[in-house]
């Protein structure tokens, strides 16, 4: 694995573009994320958040542009990049016919967690997300929040340098949401892990992220801390800043029929 420890940017993206036929999903975006930073992509559905995450995590080939993740290019050096990150996808990605423990073991083997530490690490994480008591239960008996917590634990299993979370708290109650974030912030601080997440919740971006990139129609339209963004726009809250920058509230965009259906289906599946 090529990794330059003196390099402060763990994610570095320049001119990244993804086209699907004539539709430009991600339009020439550039940004850097510092090692250990918690960084948010804030934007409405269909803004290009998930497409960007897919390109950063080797799941999608960019049309143009350059990406470096922990010193490797995800389009070329896929396995080195894959070793360096953990991910929680937008949609559920657990095997519900396996137990919590089996889902963890599957991941541990595929991500080459050494046998000697595997057991201890799995137990540590399952206790951490308060699922150790349920370790031998089938995932299909879990609530949406429990599944999410298990996915977070699984993503952390191989001690990734970066954690990607794609709309991780969609459809979860506020309590579960704040639980998940307190785990992640703790680990980020303790292990200097970088967190890159997407969201369309203002409060979440404001409370959790050190820096926020506002993405709209495939373009980054503003970037900075919540404070910076408020100053830039002469407003008093991130919500107002967002409206000033994009000319829209984030909620209005959601009231598009298909998006609404999609998010309802997602919520339904999660529960």
């Amino acid at each position: 694995m090529v990794s330059n420890l003196t390099d402060t940017n763990i994610i570095s993206v320049s001119g990244l573009t993804k086209k699907f036929k004539d539709f430009v999903a991600v339009d020439n975006i550039s940004f850097d994320v510092r090692r250990g930073e918690i960084f948010a992509f804030l934007g409405p559905n269909g803004a290009g958040k998930s497409t960007t995450i897919k390109m950063l995590t080797t799941l999608l080939q960019p049309t143009r542009g350059k990406v470096m993740i922990n010193g490797s290019d995800p389009a070329k050096n896929k396995d080195a990049v894959r070793m360096s990150f953990g991910i929680v996808f937008q949609d559920p990605s657990l095997d519900s016919d396996l137990t919590a423990l089996e889902n963890m073991q599957y991941h541990a083997v595929l991500f080459k967690v050494p046998k000697e530490i595997r057991k201890r690490r799995v137990e540590e994480l399952l206790r951490f997300v308060e699922l150790w008591d349920r370790k031998n239960d089938m995932v299909k008996t879990f609530s949406g929040g429990m599944k999410r917590r298990l996915e977070v634990a699984r993503g952390l299993l191989h001690q990734p340098r970066i954690m990607f979370l794609d709309v991780p708290t969609l459809g979860l109650d506020p309590q579960t949401r704040s639980h998940i974030w307190s785990y992640l912030k703790g680990i980020s601080q303790k292990e200097d892990m970088t967190v890159f997440f997407t969201t369309h919740y203002m409060e979440e971006a404001e409370k959790v992220a050190q820096r926020i990139a506002i993405i709209d129609h495939g373009k980054i339209v503003a970037m900075g801390s919540a404070n910076d963004l408020e100053k830039q726009t002469n407003t008093n809250s991130l919500e107002e800043a967002f409206i000033a920058i994009t000319g829209n509230t984030i909620r209005e965009e959601q009231v598009n029929g298909t998006d609404l259906m999609r998010s309802m289906i997602r919520m339904w599946r999660r529960h």
Binding site: K54, T57, T58, L59, L60, Q61, K78, D79, A80, R82, M83, F85, I87, F89, D91, P92, S93, L94, D95, S96, D97, L98, E102, Q105, Y106, H107, V109, L110, F111, K112, R154
Partner: protein, 248 residues
């Protein structure tokens, strides 16, 4: 190696947990054995061909292997629809190992199903001729299972959802079964049918199994074995190639 093992293990666990599916999948072969076995038995005997159950059982075992194998491969579509495939796709392991683990897992499950049908057939009156040849029988069962699990994976890599499933059943799996000589002898067939049955890879699986279990066949076990191995390798390759191109 550990990648292949863990993917194999997942298939096995899921199979043994779905007990109702195992039992459900035995209904069809049992029906074939009883209805065809006893229904056509006397005609078959009058035609001077001997005991029909003896002829039919290897064919029905292979039918069950074929169906289970194709299903085990195709259930990749569920992994995709329920999101689990993405978890596998971001793993830092070669795609061919993932494909191979899944193929060997599906083949193990399908072989097991074949063995159960074999045991069932003993209760219906089937008698195998040589206990030592059971090893050869097991080999044919596993190779055929591996071949058709790979076919299932290849198909699942090309289609997005279960909508094309009926199409595959009716235009691929059923013809492969009916044209394999599982139900009727391949001698004295009309020329066109004769050619088609010789193209069908399952024909060689059924023939090899029949030879191993009752000691009579058309092509000889050596030919059967070579054909099955070659075709299995081709489809393992094709399955890997198509699987590698999936974008999550």
């Amino acid at each position: 190696m550990s990648t292949i093992y863990i993917l194999w293990l997942r298939q096995i666990k899921k199979y043994f947990r779905a007990k109702s599916r195992i039992i459900g999948a035995l209904g069809q072969p049992l029906l074939f054995l009883l209805v065809f076995g006893f229904g056509f038995g006397s005609i078959y005997q009058q035609a001077g061909q001997g005991n029909y159950i003896q002829f039919l059982a290897p064919g029905v075992i292979m039918m069950s292997v074929l169906f289970t194998a194709v299903f085990s491969g195709i259930d990749l579509i569920w992994d995709r629809q329920f999101g689990f495939l993405k978890e596998t796709m971001v793993a830092p392991v070669p795609r061919w190992q993932i494909m191979l683990g899944k193929a060997v897992g599906g083949a193990t499950v399908a072989s097991f199903q074949g063995v159960i049908v074999f045991i069932l057939s003993l209760f219906v009156g089937f008698k195998f001729h040589d206990p030592l040849m059971l090893l050869a029988a097991a080999l044919f069962i596993f190779l055929v299972a591996l071949l058709f699990t790979s076919v299932g994976i290849a198909i699942a890599s090309m289609i997005e959802d279960m909508q094309g499933f009926q199409l595959i059943m009716n235009f691929l799996v059923m013809p492969i079964f009916f044209l394999s000589g599982a139900l009727f002898p391949l001698k004295n067939l009309p020329a066109a049918l004769d050619v088609i049955t010789r193209i069908d890879p399952l024909t060689y699986g059924v023939d090899g199994l029949r030879e191993a279990l009752i000691g009579s066949g058309n092509f000889g076990m050596g030919v059967d074995l070579i054909v099955i191995i070659v075709v299995a390798v081709i489809f393992l390759g094709a399955g890997s190639y198509l699987f590698e191109r999936i974008q999550a």
